[in-house]
Symmetry: D2
Subunit: 445 residues, 4 copies
């Protein structure tokens, strides 16, 4: 029995989706009078996954080359036991790939919607962090070195924008992929005589899918694009996971993932709290690229049905869905309950001796000395500050080349992290306003 | 000197694009009064790629970690030789990545537009083939085996739809990526004081780019999405290349790529005409997935500037652009001048002894015997036809189980390729109408 | 219960392998007196996969970050129910990754051995085909066009050599990876005091593994190399699958995969026999590259335990193993029972009008006219032969530039496929002799 | 002119390598009397890259489908200008791929040897670090959290072992790939009549390559295996680059890459020293997996010459070589001159409040309380220590459950990083001894 905790592409759900399409096909053909309406009920009754031995099915599928051939055989057998005539109407006019691709679309729509929701929740959580910490100074870091200061809100707003973008891409790709697959053996619907177009319309209506301009058995742009959108989502989540993991390092300590019993523990190191949500996002980001590549590599499919390429998709796209679902859920939760340590952020910024704010001093000197000369002098001051263990402000105040142009207050101001991040603060505010304006906030979806 | 035949990402074009951004930056800062307008001309004069030693630059870039550091040094030196004060205004407020990413966006927009055009031309050519051969019978082939008949127009319309889809995806991705990158060292524009937002607006206006909601130094969804769109284009082209190469096989001979002097020859086999356009499309389809994967794998970029991930993009996205440009141009040309051999298509269909049309017979018998029984009988007849070397029509006509339900005319009709492809013909017509309606035809673009 | 038909990385087998390592650890520690020998039996009794709820374990693993934490908890609980003191000795001195990596090595060794055997059987079958058809002419094909003739044995010998090479690579990689993983939390074995080295030696002995020079928690070269070897195997099998599928095309018909009930059928096309083994090999070849890329991308693992990279391996390497096992088994069977149609090979060669053998004529003329001139003339003759529908031999015999140097017999001989493939025949014989000499034949392994 | 600073796969070097093979072919054929020895000198004289217009050649190659066709044409023309008869002996008996693959092998051997050397130098530098810091305590870090202590030597020895392994793999793959490619159009050497085997032997001897058991035009295991070995090298270097970059973080400061003028600077942040060697290694590790995947995806090459797959290799393997060369050279230098800050290592270890050494306390208590109970108590103590800001040793000493079993000295000893890393120290010594024994040290190579 399918239970709500089963993943979207569990064996049971996959087979049930195939059977659902067979039922809709019978209904649609009955709708337009191709098969008698009395054949629908027996097919519907037999089309429940509980009636099938999934292990046997898998073994038969391997031999036959696809799962539909044995599934149709078993379905036909079960229907025949109740109604011999209805058994003759099973799978009428369809080819295996019609059913498999359509079932895939149905499953993608459902599972993909869940991922889009999780991406939305994660973006909302990032927006909340951005709002709360719009002006909280933190070291900006480039090449993993402290650079000029920024604000934690500016970091969070970048996460938010990436998540919103990833969500929009996924929603668009899922929508573009919501096309019925129906064409019969080679896309001609020949076995339906002249009823092909009507059957197509009826089947699409039954399933709530669009009618494609042509069967797309070997034109895989739709599903490959969904794979790309999932890959982009995993990459976006991976960037956030990496930032969180770096910020959570013992030596940095600026954020911590939420703790919970049984969560992120260690069998031998009781003091540790591992950033498991970040790890899940990073693992997804490591795995997704290869899986997207597989979907793209599978695109050059031969003629009217592929030999190899289509088959390569079967267990690839579902894994991508699972990874994106896992990573988005994990990070939505971690961001929503992230522990933020603003004190530590400031302390780390100060500990680096002010060098991280050197750009402020360069900017203040540049109008007087030209950028290159200013940079040259400040570089020298930084070196002296680090060597002597003195704050940069003091070293600068003692240097006549600086003092000619800046007094102590100007130096302090040039090195003040809050002043240096005023534009960052403004950027955060504007981005949040735009998001609110575009109706993407938590109350809007 | 840059000449029109240089590829979009040649070393010269890349450096010139970087210099173009430096010029626009100076102009924009002069526009808003941050630097004097007298500094613009000397910067513009120095910012011509001919003034630089690209080989030396490449070596210095390796040591510095990126090409901008030495380029700005040389640019500053050249400006200083003319106007010492202007030299102090070079690269004002920007970080290396601001210039490199913005130059990339400018180059993508230009090169990507060319690829979109080539995809459009290829789609137009496929539409013309679909129109001309909407009802030309050809063997439908699944698993590289002849299956039921379809029409060559139905094949071509699938190519057309894939190309239109790939083009639309690319155009959308390029548009979404047309965002200025401008944030200074860590995205805060700190060195511009409170002039950051105005400078951003002015620079975007100068370059015809949008202002992003926030700097996107380590939020790489935009460029990764362009990579995905290019990957989808290559996959779509690869599918067509594979079909063409298979149809052009000596033993199939249903199409031939256009011939030209020096084209597709062989040093040792003078009789051969190699399908070189198909090979270029297939090679692009083999290479693109790994490159897209690289762009996705590079997404989890650390904090405000990556260590490794961004650098991995530099020579990856340009190669993808080059591959897509090459494959789309090659196939646009090959499709536009494709030699189509309808006689051979029909002969191949007939040579397979009618088995390829067996589905027609199953469909005709199914209402009388049920689908399973009909299929069972026809399978037996096929085997007998192949074993005895007789046409399926004759074997069927001799079988009492068939004759009870179908007379000779009905059997012939059930196996007639034109009748069997009537729906395929209708699908082609509808798809072409939709394309015309949507203004995608050759006269519309 | 684990049954023999379960795949090597089924959930049950995976958990049992983890438990097997826990048992061996207890045994090894008892061997050297770190824990009392009375603790071993209770641990062994509890360490049977049937005692665990795998679904619950999976859910707990997700929260904890790895499966060992909950597994050790349950194992400890089960042991405690029998022997409280022994419960204190469970998982003694080990970290989760020690057990997981060592279990992986054990599973790779077993499953990898099976793949190596299947590759060996496939190579033997290819050798048999090469021997039998060493001199059977077939069109050599380049760019999917008939080129000069070769022999089917020469094709088969190429398959054989690729398979032997892939097998040797896999065996070497598996051997190089057969190193115990044992280091405790950060590779220092600190919790074992000074018993670490002795425990390592004892545990390796218990499991039949080598002692590594150092723990390899984040030095993943070993497992990534196994992935590479599996990827090479899949690529090698994919080449053969592609050749077979192309040779089996309806229009070529030179080989057919063995038929069997339920094998390669079609729900709607009863006449078809799909090359399902080739499709399985091709699907594996499409999927393997992305999975190998994932294993390589996962290599830069942080410090003493990765965050993301190691986790990315967990469900990647097992899928690669499964693909390689499936593809090698399928092709070993298909090659062993391949239906070869030498008549059709010769017919296809003749049907191309002799053009495929033009090189023979070029070679015969080259000593008299120079290669370029000879090629030029033969190219013209080929064009004339195709245009007029005449055999190349006749057209050549009528051309004075040819007749000056070659009489009719010389022309016929220059175009004779058996003569043209004499060296190919010799190459096949030599390769088979070398294989026999190196003891790789079917009777040697 | 080729200069020593040109990368191994520069356009000039690539064309010269092709010409070198043409010269060797002429020499070999003259050696066995197939062509007159007087033809060799004119071919040799013409076969210098300076004689060719590489830009024109590239354009012609695109049209022809490969670079050899126009190159042979130009070579023939140049030879003809000197010696018309010799012109007829250019490229005798060879197909384009013979020359291109053989040239590739020659270039791989040379460039690959350079990479192997750099890997060896990097391993030597790591060995030196391991030796010097075998007992220098440093925080072991798992999931980017401080875990139990290890030694910097133990980290370095892991790098060393990975590098030695990567080097050995590369050397083996290069050796296995050093096979001449020579087979003519379809691998039959038909155009050489019965001189094929002798020509093969002579050509291999001229080039110092092995004779393969059969031509390997579409059996790409050799070159794909070189790609794998390069990918493994990049992954191994990426692991080291990641560790270095993490250790060099401003907040960690335990190592720094060597500084040099122009190295790792920043245009706007004069105080920074970017770890550029690590970035180069990481960028290589991000890019290599996709390129290896491409080489594997290209393996299923059709029949006797691929359409797409082989072409996909042309610009892929050279990029892999370049990446591995760049990354190995960069890290060999960075490791050789790494600045190591042992004081900071110890300070970071102490700053974490002793929690990183908690395992030592668990181990000391486990014999008395059982592992689970010991872990439970220590976890509680850690929490108390962090909450109160006290060293773990003090908190433990105050806890009666601990004091029952351990006195203050025992607690101190249980938490002493040097004691806790005694086994790590021993592991380092043993690994260095084994390396010395196996002759891999800096004096041995």
């Amino acid at each position: 029995m399918i239970t709500s905790d089963q993943p979207p592409f569990s064996p049971m759900r996959r087979v049930q989706a195939l059977l659902d399409v067979e039922v809709a096909l019978a209904e649609a053909l009955a709708d337009i009078g191709v098969i008698p309406s009395t054949s629908v009920a027996p097919i519907r009754a037999a089309a429940r996954v509980e009636n099938y031995d999934l292990t046997a099915l898998a073994a038969e599928a391997e031999l036959a080359g696809n799962p539909m051939i044995p599934l149709v055989r078993h379905l036909t057998r079960l229907v025949a036991a109740e109604d011999a005539r209805a058994a003759g109407h099973v799978h009428w006019g369809a080819t295996s790939q019609d059913v498999m691709d359509t079932a895939l679309v149905l499953q993608l729509r459902m599972a993909g919607g869940g991922i889009a929701d999780a991406l939305g929740r994660a973006a909302d959580a990032a927006a909340t962090l951005a709002d709360r910490h719009a002006a909280t100074p933190i070291a900006g870091r480039t090449w993993l070195q402290q650079a000029t200061p920024t604000t934690f809100g500016a970091k969070a707003v970048t996460w938010m924008l990436g998540l919103d973008r990833a969500r929009a891409r996924l929603v668009a790709a899922l929508d573009a992929a919501s096309d019925l697959q129906f064409g019969g053996a080679t896309g001609t619907l020949a076995s339906l005589g002249n009823a092909g177009p009507a059957a197509t319309t009826a089947l699409a209506a039954r399933l709530g899918l669009r009618v494609a301009d042509a069967p797309w058995h070997t034109e895989r742009g739709r599903v490959a694009d969904v794979a790309c959108a999932l890959g982009l989502a995993c990459g976006t989540l991976g960037k956030i996971g990496r930032d969180l993991a770096l910020l959570a390092q013992t030596e940095v300590g600026e954020v911590a993932e939420p703790s919970a019993p049984g969560r992120g523990g260690s069998s031998s190191m009781p003091h540790k709290r591992n950033p498991v949500a970040s790890a899940r996002a990073l693992a997804a980001a490591v795995r997704a690229p290869g899986l997207v590549a597989t979907m793209l590599a599978a695109m050059p499919q031969e003629h009217e049905r592929a030999i190899g390429g289509w088959q390569a998709e079967w267990d690839t796209l579902p894994v991508l869905v699972t990874l994106a679902a896992d990573a988005s859920t994990a990070l939505a939760d971690a961001l929503a309950h992230l522990e933020v340590n603003a004190t530590r952020m400031r302390a780390n910024l100060d500990a680096a001796g002010g060098g991280a704010r050197a750009e402020g001093l360069v900017a203040a000197l540049a109008p007087h000395l030209g950028r290159a000369e200013a940079a040259h002098i400040v570089e020298e001051l930084c070196r002296r500050a680090v060597a002597g263990g003195h704050p940069l402000a003091h070293v600068a105040a003692d240097d006549p080349r600086v003092r000619t142009h800046l007094d102590a207050a100007a130096i302090t101001s040039a090195l003040d992290p809050v002043a240096l991040t005023a534009t960052a603060h403004a950027i955060v505010r504007r981005a949040l306003q735009h998001r609110h304006r575009d109706g993407k906030g938590p109350d809007h979806g």
